[in-house]
């Protein structure tokens, strides 16, 4: 039986591929779309390095079949700022607060932070730490990460309004 066709909108671009039904969204992004900024860490739904946005919600792409996302909008770390333009506000904040050390967990943490800031679900340091608990940093660089996200949550709403890429 021929492999099914998977159609996604990845970083505002139409993607159409044929793959085994059990192919994860992560594998489609890395192996078929060559978007290797989304990292494969534990591959067991724990570390969060593979976090991407699916229709604006942060999800671990290692544990989502690409077919479950049929027709959906996928945003990866490559899609949040243009190649030669300024960094995304969350990237800027991570840079300013030294929120990355080896950088392996960073794409996942940035995608999770974008969704968190968009939801305005967390307000204080404790709730930010709880909200980021699905992303592990093996360098244990949490202080800077939490500081960066807390600063973004405190910043004027105008800055966070542009946090999510425009889907229209």
């Amino acid at each position: 039986m021929a492999n099914p066709v998977i159609r996604l909108i990845v970083n505002s671009k139409q993607v159409e591929i044929q793959a085994d039904p059990m192919t994860s969204l992560l594998d489609v992004l890395r192996e078929h779309c060559h978007l290797t900024g989304t990292h494969q860490g534990c591959d067991t739904v724990q570390c969060g390095a593979c976090t991407v946005l699916i229709d604006g919600r942060a999800v671990k792409s290692c544990n989502r079949l690409a077919l479950q996302c049929q027709g959906m909008q996928i945003t990866t770390i490559e899609g949040i700022a243009s190649q030669d333009g300024p960094l995304h506000p969350v990237q800027m904040a991570f840079s300013q607060h030294h929120a990355l050390q080896c950088g392996f967990c960073t794409p996942g943490l940035i995608m999770r932070s974008i969704a968190l800031i968009q939801d305005q679900a967390a307000s204080d340091e404790e709730s930010v730490r709880a909200a980021l608990s699905g992303n592990l940093c093996r360098c244990t660089g949490y202080e800077g990460i939490v500081r960066a996200v807390c600063e973004l949550l405190r910043s004027p709403k105008a800055a966070t309004d542009q946090v999510l890429p425009d889907y229209s």
């Binding site: 085994d20 039904p21 059990m22 724990q46 942060a58 077919l67 479950q68 999770r112 968190l116 699905g134």
Partner: protein, 358 residues
């Protein structure tokens, strides 16, 4: 086994496929099922995705109960205003499951039907005495969970959602695995509208179980001390790389005590077994009337009271005298007044294997 993917548009279509493909499995959020399949711990000829069936995605407040559809995600339950208002117990459980990313896609129905032995929902559903509504019938939670990954769902029966009666109150606590956030274990305690207490424990290793002895003890007296001499039998639990069966049962007892203490407005007290509360400081070493207390933040406090049969003036004058102070302080060798109301004292203190003078 090669697995095909099907996307059902209706419950009837999904049932038809379940009957046609005997090795097929339903796919809800997939947060537990997909890893199992990928690690070879299970097989499926077909995955039947239920995400397009709208009737499974609703939360509705009926006259006597709250309806939560099987395909509602944990995140939706945690932030749903009606759930937070009518059944805060379930909103609290939902917010504790796994992590934010998993909560966005994992569903309550998937968690219940899968019955992972460390999942949170089975404990809440069993403690809260939910009715599980399937494509064929209603099943009470007590008759639903049979054991590790086993439920009373038939092969071609689909869980549509659950009903929880108005007035059910409860709380849930777990000791979680730091990466997966699975319960090892978790305790849900609920009070029914007519007052009955129900306790369900998950994460012991064999699927969710009621702890009926604790329910009975708490029915007589709702205090953590009602559980003082109550063991959770080890045969309920399994050992694995994370924890032994004994430790899991011990943790379940501790969590249950803390739940009861917080609901009863008590200070949580440690579960003292034969060991003392702190090294070198056994409860019997403390003067009569004093008891060691470990607070939530693990600081060690000593509190208590003693009745003195004298007037406040007399006692005040007495405690201002250095000889009286010296006699009162255990281990005090000498005390001298260095300035009015300032004293210098030398005290011998033994703490476990360490003895020192201060």
């Amino acid at each position: 086994m090669n697995t095909a993917y099907l996307r059902a548009e209706s419950v009837e279509q999904a049932i038809g496929w379940l009957q046609r493909y005997p090795q097929s499995r339903l796919l809800a959020g997939g947060q537990s099922l997909l890893p199992m399949l990928r690690w070879g711990l299970g097989e499926a000829s077909h995955l039947i995705d239920l995400q397009d069936i709208g009737q499974l995605r609703s939360i509705e407040n009926a006259e006597n109960d709250l309806w939560i559809g099987a395909m509602v995600t944990h995140a939706e339950i945690a932030r749903h205003p009606r759930v937070r208002e009518i059944l805060p117990f379930f909103a609290q459980v939902a917010a504790q499951i796994a992590d934010a990313q998993v909560r966005e896609v994992g569903t309550i129905g998937g968690s219940i039907a899968h019955h992972d032995p460390a999942a949170c929902w089975p404990a809440a559903v069993l403690a809260g005495q939910a009715e599980l509504v399937t494509s064929e019938r209603q099943i009470t939670a007590d008759d639903f969970f049979l054991g590790l990954f086993a439920t009373s769902l038939r092969r071609d029966e689909i869980l549509l959602g659950i009903r929880v009666r108005h007035g059910v109150r409860g709380a849930y606590r777990k000791h979680e695995h730091p990466a997966s956030r699975f319960a090892m274990p978790g305790v849900a305690l609920a009070q029914m509208p007519e007052g009955a207490i129900r306790i369900a424990v998950t994460g012991l290793g064999q699927g969710v179980v009621r702890w009926r002895e604790a329910e009975q003890a708490l029915a007589g007296r709702f205090s953590q001390h009602a559980l003082d001499n109550l063991d959770l039998p080890v045969h309920h639990a399994e050992s694995d790389v994370h924890a032994s069966a004994e430790y899991r049962c011990y943790l379940a007892r501790v969590l249950c005590r803390r739940l009861v203490a917080s609901l009863a407005g008590e200070d949580p007290e440690p579960l003292l077994q034969k060991r003392s509360a702190a090294p070198g400081l056994s409860p019997s070493a403390l003067p009569a009337g004093l008891s060691p207390i470990t607070s939530v933040d693990s600081t060690f406090r000593i509190q208590g009271e003693a009745l003195l049969t004298a007037s406040p003036d007399v006692i005040w004058q007495a405690v201002l005298k250095s000889e009286v102070l010296k006699a009162c302080i255990s281990g005090c060798d000498q005390i001298q007044e260095v300035a009015p109301l300032r004293y210098k004292a030398q005290v011998r203190v033994g703490l476990g294997p360490i003895a020192a003078r201060f």
